[in-house]
Symmetry: C2
Subunit: 115 residues, 2 copies
Amino acid sequence: MSGKIKEKTCQFKLMAARDALEVIQGRWRFPIIIALSDGKKRFGELKREITEISPKMLSQELKSLETNKMITRSLLNTMPITVEYELTPLGTSSFKLLDELLEWGLHFREEIMRQ
Amino acid sequence: MSGKIKEKTCQFKLMAARDALEVIQGRWRFPIIIALSDGKKRFGELKREITEISPKMLSQELKSLETNKMITRSLLNTMPITVEYELTPLGTSSFKLLDELLEWGLHFREEIMRQ
DNA sequence: GTTATCTATTACCTATAGGTAACTAGTTTC
DNA sequence: GAAACTAGTTACCTATAGGTAATAGATAAC
């Protein structure tokens, strides 16, 4: 049974879960957070690492993650100009959830694949 | 740092995480699974419990969860006919992930709310 | 002076998610 | 025979997600 959910006044908890989903869902949020998990990276580095993402989506998703205080954006006075993105403590606090997502995803694949 | 992700051959793990997201994401999957967490329920019971869901969405999401082997659908020979939905072991195996989603969601709300 | 690299932005398109409202078909109660 | 309950289905609409391709302005390299 689910220990923390469903002890009455469920509405508030459903809201929390919905918020969490909103932050990590979509095609690119997860890959971006993982890419930043080993330290700050520039726009172009992220673009090269997340091979299939378009500059539009990368820019858009980075803005969204910044709005949600998951990452910070630093403009550096280099020539040419470079921009560094880095996970905040809030961003890194999602690792446990992301690991759980991965682990259950593997379990799910196994179960689904063998009929 | 994220222990299980990013030990190279990341593609496969990104796929697993993406699969997991696909199963639990959307507005109604999470509430439906939670509603079924304390035992089997009929269509009408779910509809009444998840107050804002429309019959179309409930029907559609139940089908999707059944396809993903998260729940079973049993037609009962009662008059009038009733249908029972119940979590499978795969369905209940998602509780740990859902709890983590809730817990991080609460943490996220706290962090976001105080500026 | 043309090309490449930096970090994006803009216009345009399609597919999907999700919502509303009405309807179906059978059974049971008033 | 009208209304309500059973479990859905159907048509239609809007908003969002996400994709492609072209463009922008600054600087640096050739």
